[in-house]
Amino acid sequence: MIPRHLLIAVAVMLLAVLVLGFYAGRVRSRVTQFPSAAQDVRPVTPPASGPTERVTLYVAYDDAGVLRAQVANIPLPAARQQRAEEVLRSLLGTYLAKDSPHPIAAGSEVRAVYLVDPGLAVIDLNAAFANGHRSGILEEELTVASLIQTLAANIPGILRVKILVEGRDRETLAGHADLSDFYDASAVSQLAGQLQAGQ
């Protein structure tokens, strides 16, 4: 006959195995809920640091086909170039949000903004932004006008803007809006006026 204390010890050990097994299963399922590094399309840019400042974003609204000026408070670094990048990242953040008025592709990112004197700004966007952009004259020109007008409104002295994708020239954004040329900031400002008026 098996001694009583031995039976109790075996039962406790079996119970411990079951509890640990259940716990291991829970932990594993929780881990698989996180995307792998390769799938994660979220920007890897570190958050900006600096005092919070008020900026004006020209936000596109697809439903009415208009641009609307919106004030936002975002942390801005002191350097002019980094400020330009942060302003545009804030704009793209608006478009990437869940209730975006002008949705853009997941993973869209401003890679860099180069300010070249005199008065030239070069916006370098990533491939996800351009390749996933919706095709259409109005959709594309809302995006382009929004980027350029936001940049020109918050970074003084910008006269011309060039848009690159992954550091390279591209003919159009998604089949319509021309990216091969330099944009005249004052001409885009007039266009933004038309788009704001909803003419």
Binding site: S135, A177, D178, F182, L191
Partner: protein, 484 residues
């Protein structure tokens, strides 16, 4: 970067290079393309013929689209086409087809491409189309020319024994061929007229200076060659129903023979020379063809444009709309040329070059979108830079001198849309090739009238849009001026 861009793009608009490019590019492209010309009371158009398994095939949707309301759906290997009330069913890789409940055997297998484009052997069109269209069809397979209904234009030719002699050709409907003079004769090419052969293909005249005329047709085009021993000239009268051919005056015979540009993928109709009613003898040398409007169906070929739905591509909507717009303009007496009349590839630079070479009064690009409602009319948003240098005009800002005319044209078209209660908005846009075109240039982007994007295929809606654009252009003729 700016230097490179500007160096690349500084081009003299009227430079002979454009003419050379046009002369080299168009005939080269057209020589390789097999086409079927379709002539019907509703539309005249051409579609491309493709070779599959050593046989000639044509897209059935492309054939029927300009003729009426047509739709298709794919279910696995089965492809069903609906034209008005007639339904036709085909199976990929099978010869058996079913039209309006009756079975037919095609001479070769039906081909379904990309899950949506149904190709039928060209030889089968002769008996497929009468059953689908419910009307008589006359097909000349050797020349690849289709006549739907009673549209044929006949002609007679008679020599007038005057001094100098005149060959008087009378047509049963107005014609506007492109004309080329060449040593030993004169050649008239009828791209868009349903001209049919006379009783005999060679007509001989008992005259030393104008000896004979030959009729020929191939690849959708008919041609009349008039043979002579002296340089010949043609003049039009009787509203384009009569062409009189006579020896050229002495001073006009000296220059080397000139040919009008031939139309490759570029098709259109327009007056060759101003018709002089009642005047039989030529009084002026031949003029190159002038088109009032150039219509550009945006995208095409590999460039599909926006994917409007899983069944609808922007390039297909723009082509259907361009065909209707050309008809609407021509119905108002406005000569119009379409830059593409098939699913052809054209770069933005090519579109601008062809347009600038044609010197139209107005260039109209057509786009389609699933976003928003109604229409949007765009003029060029000119890029930065663009310094002209003497007679050389910067390519990127070639539109600048014509921008005011473009805006007037856009306003005219928008007013017509408003009159028809179609929502319209005028904007500038960074949209090539608007900024490269030297004449008035607008782009019309058509969105569905309601929430269903498939409404963009509704013939009534497309017709209304095309008619509004044509009315807007016609109303602005006084402001825009005459063809150069």
């Amino acid at each position: 970067m700016p230097d490179r861009t500007h160096t690349r793009q500084r081009v003299h608009i009227d430079c002979w290079v454009f003419t050379l490019l046009l002369a080299l590019t168009l005939p080269a492209g057209s020589a390789d393309e097999k086409k079927i010309a379709v002539f019907s009371p509703a539309a005249t158009y051409s579609i491309l013929v493709v070779d599959r398994d050593g046989r000639e095939y044509a897209g059935l949707l492309e054939v029927l689209e300009p003729l009426g309301q047509v739709s298709s759906r794919t279910d696995g290997l089965h492809w069903t086409l609906r034209y008005n009330q007639v339904e036709a069913e085909f199976t990929n890789g099978k010869k058996r087809a079913r039209i309006a409940g009756h079975d037919f055997d095609l001479p070769a297998n039906f081909v379904l491409e990309n899950g949506r484009r149904g190709l039928v052997p060209v030889a089968a069109l002769n008996y497929l189309l009468p059953r689908i269209l419910g009307t008589s069809v006359n097909f000349n397979p050797a020349a690849r020319r289709f006549f739907i209904g009673s549209v044929a234009v006949h002609f007679t030719a008679q020599i007038s024994r005057t001094a100098p002699p005149r060959l008087i050709m009378n047509f049963t409907a107005p014609v506007n061929p492109s004309i080329a003079t060449e040593p030993g004769g004169l050649r008239m090419t009828f791209n868009r007229q349903p001209l049919v052969a006379p009783g005999t293909s060679t007509l001989t005249f008992d005259d030393r200076e104008i000896s004979s005329a030959n009729y020929s047709e191939s690849n959708g085009v008919s041609e009349i060659s008039v043979n002579g021993t002296v340089p010949l000239m043609a003049s039009f009268s009787n509203d384009g129903r009569t062409i009189t051919i006579a020896p050229a005056p002495q001073q006009a015979a000296a220059p080397p023979p000139a040919a009008t540009p031939s139309a490759g993928s570029v098709t259109g109709a327009g007056p060759v020379t101003p018709a002089v009613p009642g005047v039989a003898l030529p009084t002026a040398p031949l003029q190159p063809r002038h088109f009032y409007a150039v219509i550009d169906a945006a995208h095409g070929g590999d460039d599909r444009g926006a994917t409007l739905s899983d069944k609808l591509l922007e390039k297909d909507v723009t082509l259907a709309l361009a065909r209707r717009l050309r008809q609407e303009l021509e119905a108002r007496g406005i000569s119009a040329m379409t830059l593409r009349d098939s699913d052809a590839n054209l770069t933005l630079d090519q579109r601008a070059i062809f347009t600038n070479t044609a010197h139209p009064v107005v260039y109209i690009a057509l786009h389609a979108s699933s976003s928003g409602k109604g229409t949007r009319i765009y003029t060029a948003l000119l890029p930065a830079g663009g310094e002209n240098n003497g007679p050389f005009v910067a390519w990127d800002t070639a539109q600048s001198a014509a921008l005011a005319s473009s805006q007037a044209a856009a306003q005219g078209v928008a007013a017509e849309f408003a009159r028809r209660q179609i929502q319209a908005r005028t904007l500038s846009a960074p949209l090539r090739p608007l900024n490269n075109v030297t004449s008035a240039a607008i782009a019309v982007e058509v969105a569905p009238p309601g929430t269903d994007v498939m409404d963009l295929t509704l013939p009534a809606y497309l017709q209304n849009v095309a008619s509004a654009v044509a009315n807007g252009v016609a109303a602005g003729r006084d402001k825009l001026g005459a063809p150069r």
